[in-house]
């Protein structure tokens, strides 16, 4: 026996150490008073909360370090509520820790596994009952039941069909048509090339047809950015160059990655940056992706001027704008 390796033995639960409140009635009384004070404080803060709700005007602001301009009504209402709750909690915990019994108790655990006998009995019962119902033999019933249950789940799914229309070609179209004027957003004023200085950038939308209203779902596809560079700064092929007008180039503002508005333009580098995921597009090279997760350039809108000298679209976008989708062909 002496060769056997012996582990350190469990010395059992350590002896219970009495708290001060267990042995000294004065300490216990003191603890009781402390708990009571905490509860009274709580009640006082409730009074503060109600006072703030009724009597402190929500027009009063004052300056606090770190927090800046602070609304007195909101602050005192909140602090009153916060401390009235906190002191109840602190009181209860103080009570539990100092005045309630703190002797550790041992409860036994029972193994979850039932005795083998019971388990066998259970399995036998299930088998017997299943056998009595003919589950084992009558496979036709089982299969058709499976079919019926599976099929019945289809109805609720079909019922969801009217949640929305079918997409059709909707994702591929925008409101831009040949000759549509570019108008400012906001303001809806048509723009002449000379309104835009070199280096400037503007958000534009297609001019509304008479009697039409602009919906958010229109803006979600129609928003376009105009940027004016020196014509010599472009590095475009002949076709794309012909889509610009006098140094003004137009791109869809809806990111080709996930559809955020590509709103940041760096004048020095001539880069467009999407603030959502940092896809970066080079304006001089037809919005080629030079950084970030987007896989495609921003669609370019071909622009020119009409007979009145206003900027118009030469033609609709030649590809869908916004994030990719399955049916997109390029």
């Amino acid at each position: 026996m002496s060769n056997e390796i012996q582990k350190f033995q469990d010395p059992g639960l350590p002896e219970h150490v009495h708290r001060k409140t267990d042995v000294d009635p004065k300490a216990a009384d003191r603890a009781e008073r402390q708990v009571a004070i905490l509860f009274v404080l709580s009640a006082l803060f409730t009074v503060l909360a109600i006072y703030a709700y009724i009597f402190i005007s929500d027009e009063i602001f004052f300056f606090l370090p770190i927090m800046g301009d602070t609304n007195a009504h909101q602050l005192f209402l909140g602090l009153g509520m916060a401390f009235s709750l906190l002191f109840i909690g602190l009181g209860l915990v103080h009570w539990a820790k100092n005045l309630m019994p703190d002797t550790e108790v041992i409860a036994e655990r029972h193994e979850f596994r039932s005795p083998d006998e019971d388990r066998e009995d259970f399995v036998r019962t299930v088998k017997e009952q299943a056998g009595a119902a003919g589950l084992g033999r009558r496979s036709l019933i089982k299969r058709t039941l499976g079919l019926a249950l599976g099929a019945s789940a289809l109805t609720p799914i079909v019922l969801l069909r009217d949640l929305g229309p079918l997409p059709g070609k909707e994702l591929e179209k925008t409101s831009w048509k040949t000759g549509t004027r570019l108008v400012t957003d906001p303001g809806d004023r048509p723009i002449r090339p000379e309104d835009l200085e070199v280096g400037a950038v503007a958000q534009v939308l297609p001019e509304l047809e008479v009697g039409k209203v602009r919906h958010l779902y229109d803006i979600a596809k129609d928003a376009v950015l105009l940027i004016r560079l020196r014509p010599s700064e472009f590095q475009l092929d002949a076709e794309r160059l012909s889509w610009t007008h006098d140094g003004i180039i137009a791109f869809s503002k809806i990111c080709s990655h996930m559809g955020c508005a590509v709103a940041l333009y760096e004048q020095q580098t001539k880069h467009l940056l999407c603030p959502c995921h940092q896809s970066t597009f080079d304006v001089t090279r037809a919005a080629k992706v030079i950084f970030g997760p987007s896989a495609r350039p921003l669609p370019q809108l071909a622009i020119t001027v009409d007979s009145d000298g206003y900027l118009v679209a030469q033609q609709p976008f030649n590809e869908p704008v916004g994030p990719s989708f399955w049916e997109r062909s390029s």
Partner: protein
């Protein structure tokens, strides 16, 4: 006391006469729970859920979940006469024209953050102490389900006000749906009732946010707690604590007072945050407009890691046969999170398969005593933290004068290189801590007291540990690696093949431990505690 006792007795007999519950109640009211600060993490989650229900109900009294266009005429001047959705206008109304409305909105948002943070902390506690092991696998699965639903619920919640920031978040969610192969654009049109943004989405997610998901939370939390109750709580090892018992305090009165008190403390802290710490100031963002965005758009932290993944994805799309597959969205938006959550959900089963351990465990493990698991956990946390850093790359770039490109490339490389490093380092640290424990048990604790011996040698006095401490540091199980022989006793090649070899390798990695010291070893060393 006399009168109180009589009333108490009357109530008890009233209940028992009608339910016959006396025996059950007596047993359960004195049910024993072990005490440890880390067991309160789950409680925080439960209490913040209750706070969410209370503050959320308050908000529904004024919130108008409609995308109908209205002109704002409330008391916040900068937005007056501006067109916006009724949802945004009513959220502004709650913030500026309902007394206590802003406080409640902020309490609701802080409680949601606490709910998520608490779940993550609780999940880590359960993981690193091995509390998910048999028989508690089902509760682990429910927990993973709750975290997943929590992320969705939080996202829907902060999307409801329909401000510029949250609308941008919805736009991104729409792009993820739209990127699903074959059915994506159909699903997007069904979800939004047509082209994005439409007028159907806010009312729909409102029902999901206030009814469907809270209902599911209630059901899952109930089962989660019933299982804790029925299976009894796990406990940390120590003298007197075994696999067969629970050592702690009874529910009544200790835990009723402590847990009840803790609820008020959590509520108080949340209310304090709501009172002094501004969160989601929607009035600064303006109404949603798909043609606009605010710089530094950030989701809440529990979505931040997903956003970070999306940001670091390589710009990959496949175009074939007239169709598009957006890998740059699918991989970070659906595939990687799907794999991560599946692995997390299956971990108890994976570990049990790797170690061949099929026995019940009620004693928790110290993280150092299971180096492999702890290293896996640390590796996962490293992964999430790195992608989370990338989720805030724009903010970090402006605060630390870095470029976004630097952070993006650091995290793109780091997300592949750093987690394995963290695995190795964590495992080494765990083994070193085991060595330190061994040292402490065999040679005692360093006291820092130096003594000069008669012949001039200096030694540090070591103090012997108590019997209880020695037991606590040595009681843990150290299972051996599974033996998976290449050939069986008849010389036939092991039919388990590659699978068996993988399992043997995992099991070996899991069994890498510093042997716990034994009494026999201590005796052999003698009493030389210096």
């Amino acid at each position: 006391m006399k009168k109180a006792e009589r009333i108490g007795g009357n109530v008890a007999s009233y209940v028992d006469d009608r339910t016959g519950a006396a025996k059950w109640l007596r047993k359960n009211l004195t049910k024993v729970f072990p005490d440890h600060w880390s067991f309160m993490l789950g409680e925080i989650v439960l209490y913040s859920f209750i706070i969410l229900l209370l503050s959320g109900t308050f908000l529904t009294f004024w919130f108008d979940p409609s995308q109908r266009e209205v002109v704002y005429e409330g008391s916040y001047e900068p937005l007056q006469d501006i067109k916006m959705s009724a949802a945004y206008a009513s959220a502004l109304h709650i913030s500026f024209d309902v007394r206590g409305g802003l406080l409640m909105r902020q309490i609701h948002h802080w409680a949601a953050l606490l709910f998520m943070a608490g779940m993550i902390a609780h999940l880590m506690r359960v993981f690193f102490t091995g509390a998910f092991r048999k028989p508690r696998e089902a509760n682990w699965l429910i927990g993973v389900g709750l975290v997943t639903l929590g992320i969705v619920e939080g996202f829907l919640g902060y999307s409801l006000p329909d401000d510029l920031l949250s609308g941008t978040g919805i736009r991104i969610a729409e792009a993820i749906i739209q990127a699903i192969p074959v059915v994506g654009s159909y699903l997007a049109f069904f979800a939004f009732g047509g082209a994005f943004p439409g007028e159907a989405f806010i009312p729909r997610i409102y029902t999901v946010h206030v009814l469907l998901l809270p209902g599911m939370f209630l059901a899952l939390i109930t089962i989660h707690l019933m299982l804790v109750w029925y299976q009894k709580h796990t406990q940390y090892p120590g003298p007197g604590r075994t696999e067969k018992n629970v050592v702690g305090y009874p529910l009544m009165p200790i835990y009723m007072a402590k847990a009840g008190g803790f609820f008020f403390i959590v509520f108080g802290v949340t209310a304090f945050l709501g009172a002094v710490a501004s969160i989601n100031p929607i009035w600064l963002y303006g109404p949603y407009n798909p043609g606009q965005v605010s710089a530094g758009s950030q989701p809440d932290f529990y979505m931040g890691w997903l956003d970070g993944l999306v940001r670091m994805a390589p710009p990959l799309e496949t175009y074939a046969f007239g169709y598009t597959i957006s890998w740059n969205i699918l991989i970070p938006g659906l595939i990687v999170p799907g794999i991560l959550f599946t692995l997390m959900a299956l971990y108890p089963f994976i570990e049990s398969w790797m170690t061949g351990d099929k026995s019940e465990h009620h004693l928790l493990e110290r993280p150092r005593n299971n180096p492999n698991r702890t290293a896996i956990g640390a590796m996962s946390i490293a992964f999430i933290l790195i992608v989370l850093i990338n989720g805030g790359n724009d903010i970090i770039a402006t605060h630390f004068s870095l470029t976004i490109n630097q952070i993006m490339w650091f995290t793109r490389i780091g997300v592949i290189v750093i987690p394995p490093l963290v695995f190795v380092i964590t495992k080494r640290i765990c083994l070193s801590l085991q060595r330190a424990d061994r040292e402490k048990v065999l040679h005692g604790r360093e006291t820092g007291r130096l003594v000069m011996l008669p012949h001039g040698e200096f030694v540090e006095v070591h103090e012997e540990l108590t019997a209880g401490e020695k037991f606590t540091l040595t009681q843990h199980l150290q299972p051996k690696a599974l033996a998976v022989p290449d050939v069986d006793e008849n010389g036939v090649k092991n039919p388990q093949g590659i699978k068996g070899k993988i399992r043997a390798r995992f099991s070996q990695a899991h069994a890498e431990q510093i042997p716990a010291p034994t009494e026999t070893e201590a005796k052999a060393l003698g009493g030389g505690h210096h």
